[in-house]
């Protein structure tokens, strides 16, 4: 069998394999590759005792600040969050290269306690889903100019996803400060 035929046969075999795999019922929900379901994320963030969600309206000065961080208008007018004491949890979304990245962020006493990628839809940059990458955000706080207090090292070939996560971390810290500021 000559090499051309070998190539065709291998391609055909792989094609059959791929079709079979694509037709198999997916492990995750029919929608996206859910890396971590929101319920699990929240349960982990509040030791199993998840508070009722509250709503924060993104208006006025807050809206301006969020817009400055994201570089575009915040899609949502209202954001749901979960709060108990000095801890707040947020589920936010931002586009990496072409697809939105759904991210869970826990802020404790004004510093990032945890970042977890809940749904990752991009075809590159799988590294951002893993703790060895998101661990960089632990303890991060927001400066007076709304920047993170540290540099986040990126992943070659996935810089846009890394930047998206960094922007979301800053937004979460900003909104956390807003909900926990003393009522005048």
């Amino acid at each position: 069998m000559n090499r051309g035929a070998k190539l065709i046969l291998s391609t055909a075999a792989l094609f059959v394999l791929l079709s079979a795999a694509a037709l198999l019922p997916s492990r995750a929900t029919a929608a996206d590759e859910v890396y971590l379901p929101a319920k699990t994320f929240l349960a982990e963030s509040f030791d199993g005792d998840v508070p009722k969600p509250e709503v924060l309206w993104i208006t006025g000065q807050t809206r301006d600040a969020v817009q400055k961080i994201l570089g575009h208008s915040p899609g949502a007018v209202r954001v749901r969050y979960w709060a108990r004491g000095v801890r707040t949890a947020w589920i936010l979304e931002e586009i990496g290269k072409t697809q939105p990245i759904t991210t869970g962020i826990v802020v404790d006493q004004g510093a990032i306690a945890r970042i977890a990628v809940l749904i990752y839809r991009e075809s590159h940059g799988w590294e951002v889903r893993y703790p060895f990458f998101t661990g960089q955000f632990k303890g991060a706080t927001l400066s007076s100019t709304h920047q993170l207090d540290r540099n986040i090292d990126g992943i070659s070939g996935a810089t846009l996803s890394v930047r998206a996560l960094t922007r979301l971390a800053r937004v979460a810290l900003l909104l956390d400060a807003k909900v926990r500021e003393p009522v005048r």
């Binding site: 090499r3 190539l7 209202r78 072409t98 590294e127 893993y130 992943i155 070659s156 810089t159």
Partner: protein, 415 residues
């Protein structure tokens, strides 16, 4: 019986008290009578009840307003997600993305030219969450056609499948997983106006082939790629015999007799660090002419931690055949090291770099055929996706060639 004096004294006291009382009483109004006070209390009671009713009315109004605001907020979010304005139809435009990059170069020295080196457009489409299409079309040197300096090329066009959470496969025309630049070469992602000589002469970036490829995330920061694809066809005669770059077929009615297999093991377990090892085997680099099998080995480190940047790469071809051996082309290698430092300023990022690179496409013989290039320069990013570049390169060429020490300037963008 009181004396006249006592009576007079008492009278004085009474008068005084009376005067005092009268004086005090005139400083305040006459205290209201009981009826008046009752009337006042009743009026105040009425006013309070009126206010209570008003507060209740306002409360209801606020509740209704809140309801309206909630409903408006919900609707705004729905519309924001569904640009087709509330319809149930999701158009292809929601799932299609366009991107691209471009670079304009000025080369001084002997080259002395200004050239829009590359203008590239990416088109991608997401069919389902697990199946997507991606393509890259490039126009080089502005003008393509018979006798023109440029070319229009299809550099990528493949369908990609997410098989499981950790594995992917693609079929079509794709970039080979070798080197640092081959898969990521948008102008803002590397230092220097022109690409380095190692990833030009040894790893012939941009290098794409047609075939199938799979990727798997192995855990602990490791990932692996394996591709089975069309191969190179190197010349067997002339001064360019067995040179790698000239062997790229670009999947343009390419001979499919001798495919190649490429594998890569990559480690990205630490943010900002990429280490990789790639290998390629092709049964016959001449596509049936002479039976020259070849192996390519490439390894690199690409590190960007804080302001520090470091790239180092080594690549080597071993061709197995009498003909290439006879002219010393059975061994071709190259390597480079490139440290850099990037400052974050208020007006963007400014990075400085130095690079030493050497290649030898005729390393199999003893004659001096080494090409060395030392480049120093800077990149300025006013925005992460826009870059201005300036560098100076010193060349050291083998005997018989002319070296071209020159300045290069460039502007590039990506989106």
């Amino acid at each position: 019986m009181k004396s006249k004096n006592t009576r007079r004294g008492l009278g004085c006291i009474l008068l005084a008290t009376g005067a005092l009382a009268a004086g005090t009483a005139s400083a305040q109004d006459q205290p209201p009578s009981q009826e008046e006070m009752w009337r006042i209390i009743q009026e105040q009671q009425k006013a309070m009840e009126e206010q209570k009713r008003e507060i209740e009315r306002l409360k209801t109004q606020v509740d209704e307003t809140n309801e309206k605001v909630e409903a408006t907020g919900e609707r705004v979010e729905e519309v924001a997600k569904e640009p087709s304005k509330g319809g149930m139809v999701e158009g292809w435009w929601n799932k299609t993305t366009i991107g691209g990059y471009g670079e304009l170069h000025y080369n001084g020295g002997l080259r002395d030219e200004i050239d829009f080196h590359r203008f590239v457009l990416f088109f991608g489409h997401q069919f389902t969450d697990r199946i997507r299409f991606f393509s890259e079309v490039e126009l080089e040197h502005s003008l393509a056609g018979e006798g023109e300096p440029g070319e229009v090329e299809l550099e990528q066009a493949y369908v990609e499948f997410d098989l499981t959470e950790r594995t992917q496969a693609k079929v079509g025309l794709f970039l080979l997983p070798i080197g640092i630049l081959n898969e990521t070469h948008e102008p803002p992602t590397f230092f220097g106006v022109e690409r380095n000589i190692v990833e030009t002469n040894i790893v012939p970036t941009t290098w794409w082939e047609g075939g199938v490829a799979g990727r798997a995330i192995l855990g602990r920061g490791f990932s692996a790629d394996l591709a089975y694809h069309s191969g190179l066809e190197v010349a067997t005669t002339g001064s360019g015999a067995y040179l790698i770059r000239g062997g790229r077929q670009k999947v343009a009615e390419a001979p499919a007799e001798d495919p190649a297999v490429t594998g890569r093991l990559k480690w990205t377990g630490m943010p900002g660090v990429e280490l990789a090892l790639s290998a390629q085997y092709q049964d016959d680099l001449t596509q049936g002419a002479e039976g020259v099998d070849a192996v390519l080995l490439e390894t690199h480190a690409a590190i960007r931690r804080g302001p520090w940047s470091l790239r180092a790469l080594y690549a080597r071809w071993d061709l197995n055949g009498d003909q290439p051996e006879a002219i010393g082309r059975d061994q071709q290698y190259g390597w480079y090291v490139e440290p850099g430092y990037i400052f974050n300023t208020r007006f963007g990022d400014l990075g400085f770099f130095a690079r030493y690179a050497e290649t030898d496409n005729t390393a199999g013989d003893t004659a001096d055929s080494k090409l060395e290039e030392t480049t120093v320069g800077l990149n300025y990013w006013p925005h992460p996706q826009v870059v201005l570049k300036a560098d100076y390169q010193f060349q050291s060429v083998p005997a018989g060639m002319v070296d071209d020490d020159r300045v290069n300037l460039g502007v590039g963008f990506m989106f």
